[in-house]
Each structure stands twice: as C-alpha cells, then as structure tokens.
Symmetry: C2
Subunit: 194 residues, 2 copies
C-alpha cells in the first residue's frame, strides 16, 4: 500500500506555499498521495501560544533570507506579498468547505498563487472573489460555501486536530504518526515516504 502524507496548510503561509509547489515532485518520486488538510494558522498559533517569526525582527529578517535560499534552490516562482497582515479566515473556511469537492485542488492552487505569486491583497473580499473568477471558479458559490456552518465547523475541527496531534505552525506534515514542521523538512518527509 502506497503511503500518504497529510499536508496541514493555510494559504496565508509563504512556507506552506513553497511546500505546495514542491510536493508534486515528491509525490511523483515516491508514489505517495498528498492529502490537503485546510487549517487556520491563526487558530494554531493562538491555541499553542506560538508566534510568527516576524514577531522577532531579527528572526523575521532571516526568515526572508532563508526562504529565498530554498526558493532559488527549488526554482519556486515567488513574490513576497506586500499586503500583510492578511486575514485568511474566509479563504480557509472555503477550502475546508470544498474538501472532497471537484474544484478543491484548483481552488487551493489558485489561492496560493494569488497570495504568493501574483500577489494580491487576499484579505479583501472583492479582491479574493476576482482572483477566484479569473481562475475560472464560481466565486459566489465558493463564498457561500465559506459562510456555511459546515465549512466553519470543519475548519475548526481540522485546526483542533492539528493542534491535538502536535502542530504549532504551518506547514505541518504527517506521515502516519510522524510529524514534520516546515518546508525545510520536506527531504525528511520524502525519506519517510520511501
């Protein structure tokens, strides 16, 4: 039986974006499937008492330098998003509500690109809707999904599951019970999948 990797993500995270871009090659090389698990990074931070690297200026500065090294190494197209802070709650509710739906992968891919490639002010509802429409998605239907109780409940449940399994940030990967944090641990994820 082929292994699978669970990818707990929030589109607001640039390192989750880089992981999203690197995962297809790892899946292809190992025959593994990737299960996308939408969670709310802000919820994980709040529940664990963690804080983003930018809360320490020197760490935030190095974060950018370090991320750029990986971006160059793996030839990941990337543009730092100048519109921060961005609230990803609505987008991640939509992602949670679309899990299992036909356009889930397309939606996630489009939102990651709108956040870290184009990059747009995705906390703004009209900007986000435009990004969805330009990606050929039904923005009105997706925003309705985001407002559904089911989507809200599922995002909350997945976020709580991530925390209960040990997550404290994004991206977080699980191969079985083995947890890996950060796009810089994808070599370890690949090894665990072999």
């Amino acid at each position: 039986m082929a292994k699978n990797v669970e990818f707990f993500f929030d589109v607001v995270s640039p390192t989750a974006y880089v992981a999203h871009k690197r995962l297809p090659a790892i899946a292809a090389a190992t025959g593994a499937t990737v299960r996308y698990r939408p969670m709310l990074l802000g919820g994980v931070m709040k529940a664990t008492g963690n804080a983003p690297p930018f809360s320490v200026p020197a760490k935030g500065a190095y974060f950018g330098v370090d991320l750029n090294r990986y971006i160059q190494k793996h030839a990941v197209p990337f543009t730092m998003n100048p519109h921060f802070p961005i609230n990803s709650l609505s987008l991640m509710r939509a992602a949670a509500g679309l899990e299992g739906a036909p356009h889930f992968a397309e939606f996630v891919d489009a939102m990651f690109d709108a956040m870290w490639l184009e990059p747009r002010n995705m906390g703004d509802a009209a900007t986000a809707a435009a990004a969805m429409r330009e990606a050929g998605l039904d923005a009105d239907a997706i925003l309705a999904v985001a407002e559904s109780q089911e989507a809200k409940d599922r995002l909350k449940a997945t976020t709580e599951e991530a925390v209960s399994r040990g997550a404290f940030g994004a991206p977080t990967f699980f191969v079985g019970d083995e947890m890996f944090f950060g796009q810089d641990r994808l070599d370890w994820v690949e090894e665990a999948l072999r």
Copy 2:
C-alpha cells in the same frame, strides 16, 4: 584562499553541540577552517526578544523529536541534559577568555561533552570544575580567567557583534556576510564553503 566559517555558539545549546560534532567533517570536506566565537545565548535572546523553543510546549516537544532525527542521521552521541535550566555565563566567560589560548579547543570540546554527552549539571561551579579537571584542564586557572574583566568584556563584545550581524539564537554561522541559523542549515554552510 580557503574560506572560513564563524561558529557563534554557547555550550548551553544542544543544537550548537550537534553542530560542534558535525563541523569537523564539513571542514575536512571543504578545506575550510572553523572559527569558534563564544557568545552568551541568553544575551542574544534578551537583545533580540527571542525565546527558546521550549517556551511554546508543542514546539519544545517537536524540537526534541526533530533534533533526534538529525542525531540519528549523523550518528552524533547525545544525551538530553536533565539539569535545565543551566546558567552558562561562567563557562562562556571562560571560553571567551581562553580564545587564542592553547587549551581553547580542548576546553570547548570538554564543556560541550560535559553538557550533552555525560551530561552534568554544568551550572554548578563544583561540577563544572570537576569536569574541567577530569578533562586534564587546570580548573582553578580557567575559573580565574572566567572572572577576569577581559573575559567578561570579550564575551559581551562577541555577543553584541553576533546580534549586530543579525543573530537571534544559537548556533549561528557566518560564511563571509552570509548568515545561517541552526545545525539543520549545515548543508547550506557546506555549500557556501565550496
């Protein structure tokens, strides 16, 4: 001209210990020299507003799991020190005072081992002195060095230099102006040295 890597360390850091054990192979493979730069990790944390991983329980738990993966991969002998918190001020003052002296490398190596291999309560002066003596070092002379104004000033200056160059934790490496944080970035350090 062969390149060199500056290794800013505090013996209180387990990841600095792992770096200390891995650096000789990297130096041998690249022909580089390693310059040991004693700094006070607590001073770096205070100056930058950073906090150790253990300040977030989930992060602290993962820190141990993650470190163990690298220890296994690189076959580094290691025992988690049960005596924390340990105050490394006196040891690092001694290290700073011994820079350039004949027994500097021997002292640093013995203190790292006493902290993360044996492991001892190295914040206790008598325990630390015993570890020095068992390593064939003149503990009384070293403790006198630690109390010298020159050693205090040098440790403070190196710590401030590290912070001014962007450091926010240990281990921190510089290859020229390029900074790398963490033993998990040693592959990047090796690449920078080639």
